[in-house]
């Protein structure tokens, strides 16, 4: 059965048909041979019953008048019948009136008469008893022993003929079946081939051609329907993917643009920052220059003043303006233009004051002890002015004897 399962559909269909046909033909053949044999037997019985009846009728006078010679003559006419092996005519009392043996054979024994009209098939012979009737009166019995050889010959020949016929029919049926099986196998094979093709190539647009309205047709229809669904789903998926990709691309472009924008903005900002710095430096520079000019103007003015007190007032104003100018100078030199290092500022202010007030730098040394702090303009200006006052005062009044060590903190 396993072997059968592995056969191709075509072979299966063909072999099933052939097996069924063979069984049917053999059964029919056997039935025919049996029927024919029975028919032949009954024909044979009928034929020889007639022969026996004719023989009996021809023997009536011989039996009626007990004429053995005539009976013998009559019965000897059986010579022409090859199949009659032996025959005899019984009287009613069971004695034999006349007998005949084919070819004078001695091995045949005639049975003692016990049966009435009948026939029976033996191994080699058909035995037949027929009543001899004269005017509705039974006057004797004819016995025939008939060889069954023709029956056997006929059986053999009919068997051979039927076998040949079955063989020929099977060959023809094989030819027809091998063509007709395509009606069933072809659509299924087409379906299988297409399925394999689809599974290999993953091309779901292929369709199986419709074969008909039967079960295979339904199968093909369903298969095609499934393919359509897969295709629809596939294309929907593809569309979604495409949309997604498009969205990603768009978004990427947008982002790139944004980044560019951002960069541009950054650049703008930095540009404007630089501009601002330049501007601030310029402003601080100008402020310092203007303050410097004011200082210089005050200095020029001071030279024309003879009064020492007035001159001192001018010089004080000069140092105050100078202290502010120093701040602006430091501011435009500083990194962020907003704050200055206070220690540096104090240092340069002190040097300036020292040089303007005393003019003698060797005698006075300045010691600073200032943390590294930074101040904005708003803090630095008042602090500078305070330190200016403190240093100026200390320089003015510290040296009545020109001996002192001013210390500013």
């Amino acid at each position: 059965m396993n072997f059968f399962n592995n056969l191709s559909l075509r072979s299966k269909l063909t072999s099933i048909s052939m097996i069924a046909c063979t069984i049917a033909l053999v059964l029919a053949g056997v039935a025919f041979v049996i029927y024919d044999h029975q028919q032949m037997k009954s024909n044979m019985v009928q034929e020889f019953e007639i022969l026996a009846d004719v023989l009996g009728a021809n023997c009536t006078a011989a039996i009626a008048f007990n004429n053995t010679n005539d009976a013998k003559e009559t019965i000897a006419s059986l010579m022409v019948e090859d199949n009659v092996a032996a025959a005899c005519v019984y009287r009613l009392d069971g004695t034999i009136l006349a007998q005949y043996k084919q070819g004078g054979r001695a091995d045949i024994e005639f049975p003692t008469l016990t049966v009435d009209q009948s026939h029976q098939f033996g191994n080699n012979y058909l035995e037949l008893y027929r009543n001899i009737i004269l005017e509705e009166e039974k006057i004797g019995i004819v016995y025939l022993q008939i060889s069954l050889k023709p029956l056997d010959d006929r059986l053999t020949s009919i068997f051979i003929a039927v076998s040949l016929a079955i063989l020929c029919t099977l060959v023809i049926v094989l030819l027809i079946v091998s063509r007709l099986q395509r009606l069933i196998s072809q659509p299924i094979l087409t379906l299988a081939t297409t399925a394999k093709q689809i599974s290999d190539s993953r091309d779901y647009s292929v369709r199986v051609p419709m074969a008909g309205q039967d079960e295979v047709g339904t199968l093909v229809e369903q298969f095609n329907g499934m393919l359509s669904q897969i295709q629809t789903r596939d294309s929907a998926l593809q569309k979604a993917q495409n949309r997604l990709e498009q969205r990603v691309n768009e978004r990427t472009l947008e982002l790139q643009e944004e980044v560019l924008e951002h960069d541009r903005a950054k650049q703008q900002i930095s540009t404007s920052l630089r501009e601002k710095e330049t501007l601030l430096k310029e402003i601080h520079h100008r402020v310092k220059n203007n303050l410097q000019i004011i200082t210089s103007l005050l200095n020029l003015q001071a030279y024309q003043i003879s009064d020492i007190n007035t001159q001192r007032l001018f010089r004080d104003s000069m140092s105050r303006v100078k202290s502010m100018a120093l701040i602006h100078e430091q501011l435009y030199q500083s990194k962020d233009l907003a704050e200055i290092s206070f220690s540096e500022y104090v240092n340069s202010l002190a040097r300036y004051l020292l040089s303007t007030i005393t003019g003698n730098l060797e005698r006075i040394s300045i010691k600073q002890d200032i943390d590294d702090t930074t101040f904005g303009v708003d803090t630095a200006v008042p602090c500078g002015l305070i330190i200016n006052e403190l240093v100026t005062n200390s320089l003015k009044y510290a040296f009545p004897n020109n001996h002192c060590l001013p210390k500013t903190r």
């Binding site: 011989a62 009626a64 005539d70």
Partner: protein, 182 residues
């Protein structure tokens, strides 16, 4: 006058027969038993003209003169029919009975009557049978004879045909056929 002499002789013969009957039956019972059977069987192989059978309810077998059969003829035909009619047996010594007969048997012992009998049936459809030697060729229809101790018979077709009787071919096949001697 002659007739009276015949009757006298017949009676004489009958009386002799009566005295010797037992002997005769003992001696040859089979011969006449066979002949009785033959007589009965002849009825099956002979065709009588229609008008001969029409007038009678039964088929009549006449034994003319001496009866050599004893009762074996009655035994043979008992319960049997011939030509679809019951068989009736008449023993007679009177030729006037002959016209009623369908078959007439005359034994060889009555040789002297044979001519008279033949004269009586000369234009009647009566089947004449006898065991007289040469009976058939003398104008009778069927005559018995012996052949190798077997009883055979000869037939005179012409004599039968002339009176409208006919023999079956099967009978003719086993009979010796003789011609009437002119």
């Amino acid at each position: 006058m002659k007739r009276i002499v015949y009757i006298f002789i017949t009676l004489l013969c009958l009386s002799i027969c009566m005295t010797t009957q037992v002997d005769a039956e003992d001696r040859a019972p089979t011969e006449y038993a066979v002949k009785a059977a033959f007589l009965y069987n002849f009825t099956k192989f002979v065709e009588w003209p229609e008008e001969a059978l029409k007038g009678s309810d039964s088929l009549i077998i006449c034994v003319f003169g001496e009866n050599p059969f004893g009762n074996s003829l009655e035994t043979t035909v008992e319960g049997n029919t011939a030509q679809s009619k019951p068989i009736k047996i008449i023993y007679s010594t009177d030729v006037s009975d002959i016209p009623n007969c369908h078959m007439l048997f005359i034994t060889k012992r009555n040789k002297q009557h044979s001519d008279a009998v033949l004269m009586a049936v000369v234009d009647l459809p009566v089947l004449t049978v006898s065991d007289l030697p040469g009976f058939a060729s003398d104008g009778g229809m069927i005559g018995f004879y012996f052949d190798n101790n077997r009883i055979r018979f000869e037939v005179n077709r012409q004599a039968a045909n002339d009176l409208g009787l006919s023999f079956s071919s099967r009978l003719l096949k086993i009979a010796r056929i003789v011609q009437e001697e002119e």
